[in-house]
């Protein structure tokens, strides 16, 4: 190359006198773009524990466990960054729009995975007769607020509200013995409520 | 749909079934024994572009679709053949279409379809010591690796 071309020379000189193009990452902090899809984080206040994020996750990076802790049913949702694709489906499909949010955190290296996991715990409402899981407490209340007045045609919601206002104590709410018609307004799963309805009718006949 | 008329004229009796999804996607069913002549006509005489062949497991039979592209009109013609469940086999097209030999090797090892006249049926994607008679793309193999057959 005997005669270097002017335009390349110009580019070379501008490159020579400009700052390095790459960012100085470990020494200067990096701010990702506004829409950057970083590590998803649960919001403890707004997550209702419905499990939509668990269902839509393409990589099964969200774990949902229903378990008994100290005699109480709890639902735990755990996000594992090691499996995560950062696709943002959990945020898009969240029923409250706010329960899980992608943060701007891009650096998820860890020594212990527990340090980076995002975890949220919820109380579960279980059938007072058979112990079947109905849903998380927050989810039921969220549905109630969302539905407004029509929600009062739903026995579980009425009884849950009655409990909240102290009209029914926990002891009174328990279903003792076989289900009867009177148990219809207690917190029972749809299956037990059907049983109560049918068996009671039989008895009357 | 001129291409369909030409195909009907050229392939004649060999076409057993025609499925027109829309004007750009046409599926023709032919007998497994006729595939070599049909491929010759479509690939050489009608000057279609070879795209790929897809093999599928239909539980009761095997199926191969040979996809050809007519790029001037944007149409994909798929020649469909059905193969028997027991010992599936078909003529290799590698002397008609040189590029097809890799996908035939792939179907041979993943689905267990035998290609008569193929110059070198050896493992292509799977490792060389893959257990014989284990065909991972068959429906009897679940995604976790369990074999229900």
């Amino acid at each position: 190359m005997k005669k270097p071309k002017i335009r390349e020379l110009k580019e070379a000189i501008t490159s020579l006198f400009s700052k390095p193009f790459t960012s100085q990452f470990p020494f200067k902090p990096h701010t990702p773009a506004k829409k950057f899809r970083g590590k998803p984080e649960y919001n403890r206040d707004t997550c209702v524990g419905c499990g939509a994020c668990f269902n839509v996750c393409p990589a099964r990076a969200i774990e949902m466990v229903d378990q008994v802790v100290d005699g109480k049913w709890k639902r735990v949702l755990i996000h594992h960054p090691k499996d995560c694709l950062f696709c943002g489906e959990c945020e898009r499909n969240c029923i409250t729009d706010d329960g899980i949010k992608l943060s701007g955190v891009f650096d998820v290296s860890y020594f212990d995975e527990k340090d980076v996991q995002s975890k949220v715990e919820h109380d579960l409402i279980v059938c007072k007769h058979c112990g079947e899981i109905i849903g998380t407490e927050k989810h039921v209340l969220w549905t109630l607020r969302k539905l407004g007045n029509p929600a009062f045609s739903q026995p579980v919601m009425i009884s849950r509200l009655m409990e909240e206002f102290g009209l029914v104590t926990d002891e009174e709410g328990k279903v003792a013995g076989p289900v009867q018609r009177t148990d219809m307004l207690k917190i029972v799963c749809p299956k037990c409520r059907r049983m109560a309805f049918i068996s009671d009718e039989k008895k009357e006949r | 749909m001129k291409v369909l008329e030409t195909l009907k004229e050229k392939l004649g009796e060999r076409i057993k079934d025609i499925k027109i999804h829309n004007e750009r996607r046409i599926y023709l069913t032919v007998e497994a024994g006729d595939i070599k002549e049909c491929a010759k006509i479509v690939f050489r005489e009608l000057d279609a572009r070879y795209i790929i062949a897809s093999g599928a497991d239909n539980f009761d039979s095997f199926e191969i679709l040979y996809h050809f592209g007519f790029d001037s009109i944007g149409t994909v013609i798929s020649l469909r053949v059905f193969l028997a469940r027991e010992n599936p086999g078909i003529d290799s097209l590698s002397d008609v279409i040189p590029g097809i030999s890799y996908i035939e090797r792939e179907m041979w090892e993943l689905l267990g379809i035998n290609f008569a006249g193929h110059p070198g049926l050896s493992h292509f994607l799977l490792r060389d010591d893959w257990p014989e008679g284990n065909f991972p793309l068959r429906k009897s193999i679940k995604t976790d690796g369990a074999n229900s057959e």
Binding site: K5, K35, G88 | I51, I52, P98, G99
Partner: protein
Amino acid sequence: MNDKKKVIVPIGPYHPLLEEPEFFALYCDGEKVVDVEWQAGYNHRAIEKLSEGKHWDQVTFLVERICGICSTSHPFAYCNSVEDLLDITVPEKARYIRCIIGEMERIHSHLLWVGLAGHFLGYNTVFMWAWKYRESILEMFEMITGNRNHYAMFKIGGVRRNIEDEDIPALRKVLKDIRAKLEMLTHAVLDDPVLGARLKGVGVLTKGHIKDFGAVGPVARASGVDIDIRRDDPYAAYPAVEWKVIKTENGDVFDKAVVRLLECMESVRIIEQSLDAIEGSKGDIENQVREMPVGEGIGRHEAPRGECFHYVRSDGSNSPVRHKIRAPSYTNIPTFKASCVGQMIADVAIILAGVDPCYCCTERVAVYDADKKNKKLFGFSRLVEMSREKTERMRKQV
């Protein structure tokens, strides 16, 4: 062929300029390559099988991870195939957004290729500059989609995210800059005497080879085969914007570089027109899909490396029963059998690179001398070095 007289140069399995670890055995007679053999599957991830266990919507994320460079091309083709199955159309705005994402990806993929081709020839300045220009495109991706590489934009029936009006000015500015840089780079490549001497007539593919192996994309277009799925089988907003298919006649590595660089300029034109179309429009970005009928569909997309082909079959359930994927490299790679034969071993690196298989996993090449029974092992860097030495020799001659 008498193997005893030949030197076998195995390339791979972990490396050779390919998206995945693959293996090539070059049979050499002296400096000349007489035959090539290809062995794949070292990174077989069973995506087709996995796809049978995922929901229709989740498959878009699975196929996005087939390739790390052209990550939109597979979801694009997959969405086309499912939309063909469903017989639905995509809202106009979503069609333009799809075009913008697809073409931005083409620019960054081609720039990556130009940079690496320069690197293999010993033109490290080209490598640095091309990757610097590419960086601004990746930053735009982060700004409009939320990630530099896996955009997660595609959805059956539309796109997942909108391109907001406030992002458009920044995108236009980047396009304006990159157009000037691309022009500079294209001219620099076109009238460089050393590059011309080094690449012209190397790895020639004729029209006959292209037909036999079914090669697609820039590889076919450099040999004068006039195919481009964007024009031949129109989808998204490609019929609505003005652009032309780039085609050259010689089929050597130089022409492949020219096709890629000129295609980038066309991509800039497509994006600019698409931005004009979506700016200020308030249209829908997706059509909801409620039910999946029984049937089959074929979808194609012109990825940076050529036609990407997806075939899906549904039995009406929640996941596909068969999902066949053909990446463009699947038919482009066997052309090595035609292009490498009769070439010098120093040219092999650039011929392998000329097809633009994604370059990752650069590992090692071992040279076996079957005749003398001695075995020399050296890294892939040696092959690149040989390529650079040849460029240096030619530079002195020019």
